[in-house]
């Protein structure tokens, strides 16, 4: 479906939803919809990002297939979300990467793997690459090089992400951030952190992967997100150790980087595996087929980040520090490089939509 067609389809469906309103207890989308009679492009891109694709309004819809109205809000909104990513990303031409995201994520990951694999042994020598080092993987690539490399990429990604978010923020008509009350922001962030709208409305959970409500999707999302945060905390504490206290790695089992990193890696791996499993099991009408590549690529990338990081921690017992490190670094590099151009951005679009919702509800 082309953007115009998706917008048109969303308008058609919302006319029906607005006359029905049975779903208003499930999530924020329907109360937000009810305050509008007409739907402009900006309204649709806002509502689409407010939708968590929980499936409740599809499985509970009396007008879903095979009814002639063919109402499918989650699928239409998933398609619209992707179109909003393409539309507001900066610079514009990079939207192409979001259009065929599965391909690009794979390509970038494989390329960074090849480059690291070829360059590292050449730069440090075959023997160092495959050897065992008393200072762990820093013996393979020095701490300074890693910090410089990932620092540059990370900061650039952050800037691009910020510009894209400002574009979306303005497009849906939100006033400047500093004019919004803290209370509104707090509520929106809390609903994002708890993924409130995967609870189905009464805590029964969402109808994903099938019509029986379940909380597993929300649990797997929590494992993924908080696993990711723990891994991030591990890296950050390691940096603090290094720069503030001049403690050099590798760190012992009872140090913060390990205490964050090991549960984080495990949590991230399980969470991503769970999300992939649910996606595989999900009733096909819930999935916008053109988004599947983007979704799966991102979950795989995140899951691999956790899993390879975890493996690296056990390098002492398995050997091959060099290759293991390279695989992990390549995956993380791909995650960093594509942060503004992958499903990673859904979190930011979602938060902005939630802020808009809380602001409207005031």
């Amino acid at each position: 479906m082309q953007p115009i067609e998706t917008l048109h389809e969303a308008k058609r469906i919302l006319k029906i939803c607005n006359a029905c309103r049975y779903c208003e207890g499930h999530c924020a989308v329907f109360p937000a919809m009810e305050t509008r009679l007409e739907f402009q492009e900006k309204d649709l891109y806002y509502l689409a990002n407010l939708c968590h694709n929980c499936g409740s309004c599809y499985h509970n819809c009396q007008y879903a297939d095979p009814h002639e109205f063919q109402v499918n809000v989650p699928q239409t909104f998933a398609q619209l979300r992707k179109e909003s990513y393409v539309l507001y990303t900066w610079p514009n031409f990079m939207g192409k990467i979001l259009e065929r995201n599965g391909l690009w994520v794979t390509l970038v990951t494989v390329m960074s793997l090849i480059i690291f694999m070829l360059l590292t042994p050449i730069l440090i020598g075959q023997k160092t690459f495959l050897g065992i080092h008393k200072n762990g993987f820093y013996g393979v690539i020095s701490h300074e090089i890693m910090v410089i490399l990932f620092g540059i990429v990370g900061i650039s990604a952050l800037i691009i992400l910020l510009i894209s978010m400002i574009r979306y923020w303005r497009a849906i008509g939100l006033p400047p951030l500093w004019t919004i009350r803290i209370r509104v922001i707090k509520k929106a962030v809390w609903h994002a952190l708890t993924v409130k709208y995967l609870d189905g409305g009464a805590g029964q959970g969402c109808t994903y992967p099938n019509e029986t409500p379940s909380l597993w999707r929300r649990r797997f999302h929590h494992l993924t997100f908080y696993g990711f945060l723990l891994c991030f905390a591990a890296t950050t504490t390691a940096a603090v150790y290094y720069y503030l206290f001049n403690w050099k790695g590798p760190y012992g089992w009872l140090t913060l980087p390990k205490l964050f990193g090991i549960p984080g890696g495990i949590s991230l791996s399980i969470g991503c595996a769970g999300l992939l499993y649910l996606k595989w099991k999900a009733d096909s009408p819930l999935i916008a087929s053109k988004n599947t590549g983007m979704d799966i690529a991102f979950i795989l990338l995140l899951g691999l980040t956790g899993f390879t990081g975890l493996t690296l921690m056990f390098y002492r017992y398995v050997g091959f520090v060099g290759p293991l490190l390279i695989v992990h670094l390549s995956v993380v590099m791909s995650l960093f490089l594509l942060a503004p151009y992958s499903k990673f951005i859904h979190a930011f679009y979602r938060i902005i939509a939630l802020i808009n919702y809380e602001l409207e509800s005031e």
Partner: protein, 457 residues
């Protein structure tokens, strides 16, 4: 393979009966006429249950005592109700929310919405289909065998005693007890035509196409005692652009009290402002059914915009009444005359749509007694209206064990009924929002328990 209990009909009443029978130790088979993705009959389109309660709950505000419930029932039915069964329903309605919650159904907090039902009615989270999905899941967990695409065409009775059911494909199914929960006959056009004549061709069926009344017909032919008048049906004036079946809630047109309603000759035919809309919408189906071609148009102007929940279908819109008349193909002169006469007869008043205000017309053959405002501000809008049948009242008589009563006034020992097929015992005419599901819930539980007891003893 022997079944203790056979349930015909997989809507809310049938599922409630099947689940209760299974919980009482019976081996249950449930037959649903529709395919899986259209299961649940008219329960798919429902949203709320009317519940007696003596204190506020998480899903109901204030109180709704039995006496008030009974008074409401007598008022809407003009006394066409069985007091014993009605009180049985009212008293047991208090258990409905808890029972449904125990079987995976969720409710939402009381609504502040347009119909002001948050006090008397508990609203299903996600509507009827969410409830149906939860009950099917619950039934499956209890080992109830469910078969879709299974229409029963014939029942074999032996002296008022159920013996076997014969399916469309010729297969016979025996069971010790039978629970019929197969709904009314509102989707059976031939039957409707037999009662209403040719005008029934222009009726829209708001719900499932599977309520053809085959079981109801069988039982009445085989000596079940009838309840209710065949001509009684719940008919609403709905959007004429709605599909022939299954249009459900989105076909409602909520702006009749705000404008005027004319027939195809551009003549008004009833007081649009007689009473508050929730108290009047159920009469408009019959009113429109009596008009030529069974159509009418609500006409509103820009002043009424945003004062009602929009229908799913776009109205005809024009900047002049002349253009509007052309768009809906009625005589422009006649329409202009009707509107001018109406506008000229409006008395000064203060408009308030939330109560019976003093805006009315004077000296018209048919006055509009409230909310009468001039129709003069473009754009003008016209919604096409047709009669939409929600359900029928004709049914089988039951006793307080949900056993159906036969012509000799004796109950059948092993045939039980629940839901729309017996709702006429409690509500034989008129309409009280949320009573249908309540009757289904109460008699579903009674039928399930009694049938299981009979079958397993």
């Amino acid at each position: 393979m022997h079944n203790d209990v056979l349930v015909i009909g997989g809507g809310h009443a049938g599922l409630t009966a099947a689940i209760t029978a299974a919980e009482n130790g019976a081996k249950v088979l449930l037959l649903e006429a529709s395919p899986k993705n259209m299961r649940g009959g008219n329960s798919r389109h429902t949203r709320d249950l009317r519940i007696m309660h003596h204190q506020p709950t998480k899903v109901l505000t204030d109180i709704y005592p039995a006496k008030e419930y009974w008074d409401d029932l007598v008022r809407v039915t003009n006394g066409q109700t069985n007091k014993h069964l009605a009180y049985l329903t009212i008293r047991n309605s208090a258990n409905n929310v808890k029972w449904l919650q125990q079987h995976g159904v969720c409710f939402q907090p009381p609504l502040k919405g347009t119909l002001q039902l948050g006090r008397t009615n508990a609203f299903l989270l996600g509507g009827g289909k969410a409830m149906i999905n939860a009950l099917y899941h619950s039934a499956e967990l209890l080992g109830v065998q469910i078969r879709y695409d299974s229409t029963v065409t014939m029942l074999t009775l032996d002296e008022n005693h159920f013996v076997e059911a014969i399916l469309e494909n010729g297969q016979t199914i025996e069971a010790s007890a039978l629970i019929v929960a197969s709904g009314g006959f509102e989707a059976n056009r031939e039957w409707l035509e037999k009662i209403w004549g040719k005008i029934a061709k222009n009726f829209i069926i708001r719900g499932t196409p599977y309520n053809r009344g085959l079981i109801l017909k069988q039982l009445l032919e085989k000596g079940a005692k009838q309840v209710g008048n065949p001509k009684q049906c719940h008919a609403v004036a709905i959007d004429g652009c709605a599909p022939l079946f299954d249009g459900g809630i989105v076909s409602r047109v909520d702006c009749i009290t705000l404008g005027i309603v004319v027939n195809k000759h551009a003549k008004r035919f009833y007081d649009e402002g007689e009473d508050l809309w929730p108290k009047r919408y159920a009469i408009w189906g019959h009113l429109v059914a009596q008009q030529p071609d069974q159509i009418a148009y609500v006409i509103i102007d820009a002043k009424s915009e945003k004062m009602f929940i929009p229908s799913a279908f776009p109205p005809k819109t024009a900047n002049t009444l002349l253009e509007l008349a052309q768009k809906i193909a009625i005589d422009p002169d006649a329409l202009l005359k009707t509107v001018h006469e109406y506008n000229a007869s409006i008395q000064p008043g203060t408009f308030n749509h939330t109560k019976l205000d003093n805006c009315h017309t004077q000296n018209l053959a048919i006055n509009k007694t409230h909310w009468a405002r001039t129709i003069d501000t473009p754009p003008f809008k016209a919604y096409l209206l047709r009669p939409g049948i929600t359900f029928t009242y004709l049914g089988v008589t039951v006793n307080d064990k949900a056993q159906i009563i036969m012509a000799d006034d004796q109950p059948s020992k092993n045939i039980f009924a629940a839901g729309e097929i017996m709702a006429g015992n409690v509500l034989a005419e008129g309409y009280l929002a949320g009573t249908g599901l309540t009757i289904g819930a109460v008699f579903g539980r009674i039928a399930g328990k009694e049938a299981a007891q009979y079958a397993t003893n």
